[in-house]
Symmetry: C2
Subunit: 424 residues, 2 copies
């Protein structure tokens, strides 16, 4: 692993060199490195917890909130979870070398389109030190070197964890520089990392809007932003209202703080009188704050009505990430699609309908990474999609869209084999 | 088609709206638009040639070089070629709606990964007015709206051609705004276009380094740069020297002004004494200027030797795009791979060898879009690869690498269908 005395440029150059070896390495070697990371986490448990205690102590002194301190906290159980997660990644199929297409061309040339590692991936993240191991495992598994830049609040924890990962790479016969940690969590290091376009192939920031803002306008390295999700559930005129109720509740309540939770409910006017009172009562019973348009309000009475809040224009564009839901009534499927096009973030959008044509229209017209028919938006997840693991979700349209799994950490190359072929 | 009175922002918003209709359109409708473009080119031949004559006249007055005037020139034959090219694109398989993966998940959800259009693609190009039709045809075929920004020197020609394409879209029942032309070839319009990230999904610049420099640091819309190619032919110790000679000559001489032509020849020292005199004589006979290292020079005598130029450090990094070739001797396959890693642009790289292990090592270790074994780098081309057509070549690793064909103008979405599924 790179020592703290190295410059960001030096670290990235060393990672680039390591990436060449990784690209030519076989699955078994990389899987051995992952198994050794898992073992290292278990055998170096005391060292990890001691380093983490230093970070927690500094965090308390610096006045970090309880929520941030909890994110920073490592426990034996959490560390064992990291080891188990690493073994799960090791058990996934190797994305490297997979044949994506090709065949024999007319002139007899043999063309192969082959998946290959991207090279060097930089991961920029905030408090949670477990990301150090997640990121190292996913990058090594996909044949990539990684440059990690964690939060300054997790300096001691990250140093030990990155050391375990680098040691594991070395013990498997891979270059130690395959896992490097950039010391210092400042904006200067971030800007330096984001401009290493000669050696770094991709930056994945995992963090909030502040991190995104710090990268935008600075980065010359390609960036895939982990997505924000302003997700909608649209209950169509032809909806089965039992399914609509179950999906709406799940999408909003099951884990409101994540990007694939729903933020807006749209209901077709033909079913609004039946559905709105029932769904709002159920949401209200779960403690959801309801921000509603005028037509929605007119359908509700009693206690629940007294707790409704009038939706502002801004509410339709807000990712609440909390037990808050905007609710509106639309006159048509087209109006729902139009609303989602205007306010959605292209993450996950659901229609509840029994009408095949409505479903097909929604599927085609809604421009989002994941479109659901009669299912909760909460399923947008690499694990749920059978991709095994993910490092985030992308709402970009180029390269990776939706869950960023092992394949999305790769590119491809064409390999063309001939017998002295020349072009005429 | 957008009129010149509209702002760049208005044009892009109209294109975005058109893109929604295009995304839901079927192949037959889009193919009909392409056929109508082809017919329009034929029936409006006189109008096209008259507009082109105005551009040529203005170009002559402005003192454009003969080479630039030739690029600007449209002839009946060239226009008929554009029509034929458009019909070829129409005949290609539709990339939209292709199923890229999926299946039934453990919980019974049906997951489909489906190819869909990107949305709005901006193409920025220089003198050649035929790109107006190429770009419109490829974008419409792939279900995308396009915003075209040609050179100011081709204003009249591009206006007529874009009008033909927009009329064709409209006559097929697609929105006229599916093909829009940005008037004015200035840098201000370019910067405005490059920052329409709310409505434009991708910019593809087709032009030289000046265009690239004008976009870098300004663009907030994702850009795929058409590549520069510093391509190598490496003649291995185990090369068949007849194949090596044929491939080297083809890669350098057949069309030196394009990005997949070779710029550097590397020869393993074990075959240098046999190969260098023969290949340099053959290249010299074709008028190639040879910039050679010291060891190469020592192997050549006579007339050819007198015309050799000593290679400078800069020559190894130069894309000559001309009948000029840098030639060096390496001690090993690894040194060749190292040299290509240090100096190549990741475009197209070739090894000539009969040794399977050497070929495999080169394939894996060389980080380029296209790696050739015993074949000329000149084959890097969408048409040659069976992709039917291309709008450029990418040396980026994200999204599109190598030829940018119809599929590369698309993204994908996940469509997930359930029966009221919720996440537990």
């Amino acid at each position: 692993m790179a020592t703290t005395a190295q410059s960001v440029g030096d670290i990235c150059r060393a990672a680039r060199s390591a990436a060449r070896t990784l690209a030519a390495s076989d699955s078994a070697t990389r899987d051995r490195a992952l198994e050794t990371i898992a073992t290292g986490l278990e055998t170096q448990m005391d060292e990890i917890l001691e380093a983490n205690a230093l970070d927690l102590e500094a965090g308390r002194e610096a006045g970090l909130s309880d929520a941030l301190l909890d994110r920073l906290l490592l426990t034996p159980e959490r560390v064992r979870g990291m080891a188990a997660g690493t073994r799960q990644v090791a058990a996934l199929p190797d994305p490297v070398g997979e044949l994506l297409g090709g065949g024999r061309l007319e002139n007899g040339l043999e063309l192969k389109k082959v998946r290959v590692p991207l090279g060097v991936i930089a991961i920029v993240y905030e408090a949670r030190p477990n990301v150090t191991i997640d990121a190292a495992a996913l990058c090594l598994k996909s044949g990539n070197a990684c440059v990690l830049r964690g939060s300054s609040s997790a300096t001691h924890s990250n140093a030990v964890l990155a050391q375990i990962a680098a040691d594991a790479a070395a013990s498997a016969g891979l270059p130690r520089d395959a896992v490097a940690l950039v010391a210092g969590g400042g904006r200067a290091e971030l800007a330096e990392l984001a401009t290493q376009d000669r050696t770094v192939d991709l930056i994945i920031p995992r963090g909030g809007e502040g991190l995104k803002a710090a990268l935008t306008g600075v980065a010359t390295v390609p960036v895939i932003y982990a997505a924000s999700g302003n997700c909608h559930v649209y209950v169509d005129a032809a909806a089965d209202l039992d399914k609509a109720l179950a999906v709406t509740l799940n999408a909003k309540v099951q884990r409101p703080g994540v990007c694939n939770a729903a933020e807006t409910l749209l209901v077709h006017r033909e079913v609004a009188a039946d559905f709105i009172p029932a769904v709002l009562a159920a949401l209200d019973a779960q403690g959801v704050e309801l921000r509603v348009d005028g037509r929605t309000r007119s359908l509700v009475s009693g206690d629940v009505a007294s707790r409704l809040v009038a939706a502002t224009d801004e509410d339709w564009d807000t990712e609440f990430l909390a037990l808050t839901l905007a609710v509106g009534i639309v006159d048509s499927l087209d109006e729902a699609i139009e609303h989602i096009g205007a306010h959605g973030s292209g993450h996950s959008e659901a229609i509840i309908t029994e009408d095949l044509t409505a479903a097909l229209t929604f599927e085609r017209a809604v421009d989002a990474a994941c479109v659901y028919v009669n299912a909760s938006t909460r399923f947008t997840d690499g694990g749920e999609f059978g991709m095994g693991a993910e490092i985030g979700n992308s709402t970009q349209k180029l390269h990776a869209r939706g869950p960023i799994g092992l394949r999305e950490l790769c590119t491809f190359k064409y390999v063309v084999t001939g017998d002295g072929h020349v072009r005429g």
